[in-house]
């Protein structure tokens, strides 16, 4: 199952860099508080859907 197309050192130069706004939003307290709530709601939904 050898795959010749795989590279052991990926070319990260083509990976998307976050914009200055994205970086700011990652530390923006009100936005992050909202994302924190969204994450917790998602976990609750997963627990309700998936367990038992």
């Amino acid at each position: 199952m050898t795959d010749k197309t795989l590279s052991s050192t990926p070319d990260l130069r083509s990976a998307p860099l976050p914009t200055a706004r994205t970086l700011r939003m990652r530390r923006n307290l009100p936005y992050q508080a909202y994302r924190f709530a969204a994450f917790n709601l998602r976990i609750v939904r997963m627990v309700l859907k998936g367990h038992h």
Binding site: S7, S8, A15, R27, G50
Partner: protein
Amino acid sequence: MADVVILGAGVAGHTAALHLSRLLPRGSAVTVVSPNSQWNWIPSNIWVGVGRMPKEAVVFPLAPVYAKKGIGYRQAKAVAIRPEGDLDDERGAVDVVYTSPDRAGESERIRYDYLVNATGPQLKFGMTPGLGPDAGHTVSVCTADHAVHAATELRATIERLRAGEPQTLVVGMGHGTCTCEGAAFEYVFNVDHELREAGVRDRARLVYLTNEAHLGDFGVDGMTFDDHGFETTSELWTSSLYRERGVEAILGAHVHRVEPGVVHYETLDGEMHELAFDFGMLLPPFGGVALEAFDREGADITSELFAPSGFMKVDADYTAKPYEEWRGSDWPKTYQAVGHPNVFAVGIAFAPPHQISRPRKSPNGTLIAPSPPRTGMPSGVMGKTAALTIVDRIKHGDDRPAHEASMAHMGAACVASAGAGMRRGSAAAMTMMPVVPDYSVHPTGRDLADTRGEIGLSGHWAKLMMHHLFIHKAKGRLGWQLIPE
């Protein structure tokens, strides 16, 4: 009435013990056998491993919790299972050897009506010569003590960087068949964060060395996310973080050996390489904890109960088949051991039917295949599921159907910290639903509404919240049962 014995006091076993003590009728006894006197919230070992948290914040003694909950506790390690008992008694039994200072080396045969094997992983550093903190040249964060040692070594590396010496730090997987890539991913970005905070990042070369063929594989074949109405991959998402933080990646690698300051590894193209390093944190491959099994007459039946990897065989479909034919339905639902419906194996202790990520071999025949992760959330759910089955059967009879929780139906969350700090911290928070993809139900293998990846400060808060919630739960404090697994 009935004796329930649990082997292991980790995420799966401890969760099972707490639920059993809550739900079992009076007269039934729950006994936990575990060699360590302390419980460890393993995910936070990452922060201990960069010196952000003391060991005391991630461990606590088990004995007082068990005393409070009326759970019997033997500080001992199980060495053998006798599912049909012995010539004296046909009830199942486990042979244990004490590890507590007062009884070290003493052995005992404990009888059971129900047994839960939750012994977790055996850390197999020995599979790669030179790997690991004890007999090798790399550090680890798998146990709290390993993490303390890792932090000391990291501090020394930072001191050398401060003195102007360039350093190479390598973090990743110490063998081609390792699992737990999420933990190494998390550690590498915590190290990056610490180097930045210390003002020495520019003098450090930071390398992530992994058996994953693609970044973002995480041993689960990667994930597809919905990003503003477009399907994107966990590969693109993680690549962005590596680029942003300047972390180099080496993919599809099997480490053959580690010499002082040099990792020797092979990549999927069959090439052999060397990487010189000053600080190395490489995780070991996991195997099952070596337990033997005997029938009533004392004949060895270990291979009937356990896979060659040491993990216990349960209600999975172990038929060997190619990757294209793998199905979610191959994965176990009840965790009952083959041929022994009163024995369960949960958490890392059960034998998975196959990998989740596509296995690959190099042209030299070297297997480079991430093993399937069994993370905290599924491990806790499995522990609870086995406990509920046992409770039902003790209360209502052995013909009660088993409760079910398949990794092909349950989700998992991986909050990979990328640096600590209430204002400056960050984490890559991922959720996937389900853990084992099912392409016949979802075109991308998983539910796009719940499979997400997000980077930001809120992830750090989530990780910190989980740290406090799960320690609260594990201590069996007020309302613990309301905290989901």
